[in-house]
Amino acid sequence: MKKLLKYVIADIIQNKIVLIYTALLLIISFSVFNLENNASKGIASLLNLVLLIVPLICIIFSTIYIYNSSEFIELLVSQPLKRKTIWLSLFLGLATSLSIAFLAGVGIPVLIYHADPTGVILIISGLFLTIAFVSIAMFAAGLTRDKAKGIGIAIALWLFFAVIFDAIVLFLLFQFQEYPLEDAMVVMSFLNPIDLSRIQILLQMDISALMGYTGAVFREFFGSTLGIALSFTGLLIWIVTPLFLSLKTFRKKDL
């Protein structure tokens, strides 16, 4: 595993997109903190970067990388290696390099300007999201042999988690406004890794007061130590499940 991982990471780093991604994150983070006098406002602006742009780039880059590695995978499968080792090395390679990019691009500026629990939660959530979307990308890439279709599926999945899911939640809230939905909302939020991270960060930022009664329920659930532990477990499940499913497909794939 270690041997392969070395080559995968070397290959990803040669691919300049990860370097450009890091630079882009760095530029955005520093300019956000320098534009605002108040570092808390900077964190709020970074929130959207972490919740939307990071998952988008992670899922698209990883999907394309998997498709472009088809030759590499073919070469490795004919060698004395387990398919599981090959697939997990690809996953770990992508997850490691994109996490390093995120830590360098967002982690460093946040620690410089806003090194408090909110900043730390932002970084940890961003890391979990990075890895979860690499895992979702591996799942998307396993669904079809066609590269264009695969990238389409990846973008659709991102769109679902970033936009459509919230629309559905809002729709449900309006349709059933007569009913007490607060607990149901807590459960719903576990179905979307982006929502889980968003709630964690918002609660740390103390603007949950603006969210009314639902906010109070959220605060009560997610604010507790158990809640924090549960929501990170939720994110962990979002990393493991798609990876496990994609591994199952890859083991049965004809190359």
Partner: protein, 247 residues
Amino acid sequence: MIELKNVSKKFGKLQVLNNINTRFGEGECIALLGPNGCGKTTMIKSILGMVLPDGGEILFDNAPVKKDWQYRKEIGYMPQIGRYPENMTISHIISMMKDIRKENGEKPDEELVNKFGLNEMMNKKMRTLSGGTTQKVSAALAFMFRPRVLILDEPTAGLDPVSSLKLKEKIIKEKEKGKLILITSHILSELDDLVSKVVYMNEGRFLFEKPLEDLREETGEQKLEHAIAKIMNQQSAQYIKLQKHIA
């Protein structure tokens, strides 16, 4: 050494391998012949575990290959079209393979690397190589780790006559060491002095499987090319007769 028991594979509706039973032993050099799309490459890929058969069993040294991967240490595979990561150089590929396959202490066999002159272009990226040079890299890698089994899918397609001859000499040398060699090729004339057994496939089945000597005796032809042609003609004549009979 390698045994196939009732191996079948379907791609969609197409039956690519149809109930194949055979056994390849040590020291044999087998020519796998047949028209395009008859299932040769699929059979090879099944042996390597790249394609997973729908039914039947493949045994390597009497152990099923399904869910095993260690057995691939014993196999050197040269694909029909070698596809390599584009950004890696020849030396990267070779050192990576050494890293993956290195057996303790044994020195890799770099005879083909030297003979093909790959040493002088170690720093070229795979993307920039011509088809023939890529084939040379594939060949060099297949022989490098002294495997007991060599599976060569169209080894000389795309190679120039000089390199082709060098590869052939190497194959003969390995054959004499008692290795099992499986070759597919459409250039029958070059198989004459290599092969000990001929397998002819069509539409996923073995039409016949015979030692080269028997084939020569039966057809009275010395050249493999002519012998195969004769058998094919006989069979199609029989087939036409049969059709008429049915009609």
